[in-house]
């Protein structure tokens, strides 16, 4: 039986959400911009979904913009804000461990006249407020820090960073995709000005994202057209997905507390067992301040792609930060930022899980992992200890 432990890459859509979407493909197919009754039906679900998403993060309805996904939300937030506010300054602060979309948007902004500072993290992936503070200049217009890291699961001190930015009058953006549905997010408590979310990360369909734009925060649109979403994101709305997102946040709102408790138990047991069963194995990320569904390890002397391939042969889907499994052939920038050497980053294993995992998935993993590591270490010229 196949085991899926790569929820960070993609989550299965909850069947209850699929059901909630179905009417909007044929029976209620309208365009919210139409003034007839069919259009009204679409408007209804669009606005009630907006309200549901707002409620989920402690925002107001008119602060929610639907997009095609979190990457688009990040683009709209960073580029849209930078263009709109370039008279105030040209300096943006991000961290060394941001999601690839933020890193590449930052590079794009640098090519277009903006200056970007990258804040280093500690060995657990946490960002110290002093490291942000010492980089602020009078040209700083925005700080963008991921709510939690998508690879190692470390959660940042958002409330502190948010308060700092608010006091300095700097716009605070966060990519909250890795954290959404796993820890409670409140944009007011954390003084967040812009926040990217995705539908799939709360078990909704792919291809839908959200940008929270706090009242008073000015951004330029990047998609120009019919003026949908308050003119910030033109293009006919993806109504079926928006209906799915509504159901997704409703379910999450009701079930998150019990669900995360269950995931946390899996996580704690998994970490304890793996470190115990495999000699010279290490946990990457923070021991406690980490997402409830994330366990990230490294094993001395072996390489991640061959580890993944070994799991694939046993029908187990997991992930790694090894260069050999990436398009760029570079190891994970997040693991390097933790202070790991390339060879250590290569030997990493990322396990993320969620709503549909069962006890047996973890049992299978724990039975398999030590054998696989042992076999690869026997082949390895780098493992100098007894296998």
């Amino acid at each position: 039986m196949s085991v899926y432990l790569d929820y960070q890459s993609s989550k299965p859509v909850d069947p209850r959400i699929v059901e909630a979407m179905l009417p909007y493909f044929h029976d209620k197919f309208g365009n919210p911009s139409s003034l007839h009754a069919v259009g009204d039906t679409a408007t209804e679900v669009l606005e009630s979904s907006r309200a549901a998403v707002a409620h989920f993060i402690g925002a107001e309805s008119d602060e929610i913009i639907f997009t095609s996904g979190a990457t688009e939300s990040n683009n709209l937030a960073l580029i849209g804000h930078a263009l709109r506010n370039k008279d105030k300054g040209n300096h943006i602060i991000i961290s060394e461990i941001e999601h690839i979309s933020i890193l590449n948007i930052a590079k794009y902004l640098e090519k277009n006249g903006f200056v970007v500072s990258r804040v280093p993290v500690d060995q657990f992936g946490r960002i110290a407020i002093e490291k942000i503070s010492e980089r602020v200049t009078d040209k700083t217009i925005m700080v963008s820090i991921g709510y939690a890291n998508n690879e190692i699961g470390t959660i940042q001190q958002m409330e502190t960073i948010g308060r700092f930015c608010r006091d300095k009058g700097i716009t605070f953006h966060t990519d909250a995709v890795a954290a959404e549905g796993l820890i409670p997010i409140d944009v007011k408590r954390d003084s967040i000005d812009l926040m990217a979310l995705s539908s799939n990360d709360v078990y909704g369909p792919q291809g839908l994202g959200v940008l929270y734009v706090k009242k008073g925060i000015r951004i330029n649109p990047l998609n120009i057209g019919g003026g949908q979403e308050r003119g910030l994101r033109s293009g006919t709305e993806n109504i079926a997905a928006i209906a799915g997102m509504k159901k997704a946040v409703e379910i999450m709102g009701a079930e998150m507390a019990t669900e995360t408790k269950r995931l946390q138990q899996y996580r704690n047991r998994l970490i304890e067992k793996v470190l115990d069963l495999v000699p010279r194995s290490y946990l990457n990320g923070h021991p406690t301040l980490r997402l409830p569904n994330n366990a990230h390890f490294r094993f001395e002397g072996i390489e991640g792609e061959s580890l993944l391939l070994s799991f694939k042969e046993r029908d187990i889907a997991v992930s790694t930060g090894s260069a050999c499994s990436s398009k760029t052939l570079e190891p994970s920038h997040t693991l390097i930022a933790l202070g790991l050497l390339h060879e250590e980053a290569h030997g990493s294993l990322q396990i993320t899980f969620g709503r549909f995992n069962k006890d047996s998935d973890f049992e299978t993993l724990l039975e398999t992992l030590p054998q696989i590591v042992k076999r690869l270490r026997k082949l390895s010229p780098l493992y100098k200890w007894e296998v």
Partner: protein, 258 residues
């Protein structure tokens, strides 16, 4: 093709690699290519008799295709004359495996190079050998060291508990530095020891360090210390590969000033 979409033959060699291990003896030459930085490292042990490869074994750190290509070339090379073995190309290895994913053709198809490296070493061995010497410790100036004194750069540690949970780099300075490194493991999980040597000097202290979780960077030197107001990273020079790379650390302990 995705990086892990391999042919059945690659998978077969990955699952059951042939000729894994090492060989010892006067008639054994060793070939090595790649480095752990790029993600692939291969070592070949070749036993030569009358200019013919009598036996060959390998060890590999790397991805699926690194393991499969190393395994395949041992089969291709065994029994061949030195001249014949020299002619085995990367393409031959890939062809014998029914192809490799395009992205893997360069990075993980090092087996032919590693074998040639061993064969070259065999031919060098036949000629009178030149003594190869490794550079000693060397007391090169480290750029930035003075700027961060007290802000992450230390020459001595009076209170190791102040470095709790910090990423500490300790530079080689004989027993003193080994002792410091060991002491620090009580306070932080991350201690990196840098030495220009190939091995630690024999002794009880070295054994304890080797058995600990201290990360040792052999044949390496620190070129530069970087950061904004405090130490944030160091530039390391890998003397063996002649490569430079950055490593994130919070503090660095220099050798005692003489």
């Amino acid at each position: 093709m995705k990086s892990t979409q391999y042919s059945e033959k690659v998978l077969d060699h990955f699952r059951k690699p042939r000729n894994v291990g090492t060989l010892e003896g006067d008639d054994v030459v060793i070939g090595r290519v790649g480095n752990p930085v790029c993600g692939d490292l291969m070592e070949f042990y070749v036993k030569v008799k009358d200019d013919r490869i009598e036996d060959i074994k390998f060890k590999t750190f790397g991805c699926g295709s690194a393991i499969a290509t190393a395994s395949m070339i041992t089969e291709l090379a065994k029994g061949k004359s030195i001249d014949e073995a020299f002619k085995i190309t990367r393409q031959d290895v890939a062809d014998e495996l029914d192809g490799l994913p395009p992205i893997k053709m360069h990075c993980s198809n090092l087996a032919a190079d590693a074998l040639r490296n061993a064969l070259n070493n065999y031919q060098k061995k036949k000629k009178p050998s030149e003594p190869s010497d490794t550079q000693g410790g060397g007391s090169r100036e480290i750029a930035g060291a003075d700027r961060f004194i007290g802000n992450g750069v230390f020459t001595e540690i009076t209170d190791p508990s102040a470095l709790k949970d910090k990423r500490v780099m300790v530079m080689e300075d004989g027993d003193r530095s080994l002792n410091i490194a060991l002491e620090l493991t009580k306070y932080t999980q991350r201690v990196v020891y840098v030495t220009a040597r190939k091995d630690l000097p024999a002794g009880n202290l070295s054994d304890r360090v080797a058995g600990s979780k201290i990360k040792i960077l052999f044949e390496s030197e620190v070129l530069e210390i970087k950061g904004l107001n405090t130490v944030e990273k160091v530039l390391i020079h890998d003397l063996n590969e002649d490569e430079e790379y950055e490593l994130f650390v919070d503090c660095i302990i220099l050798p005692a000033r003489k």
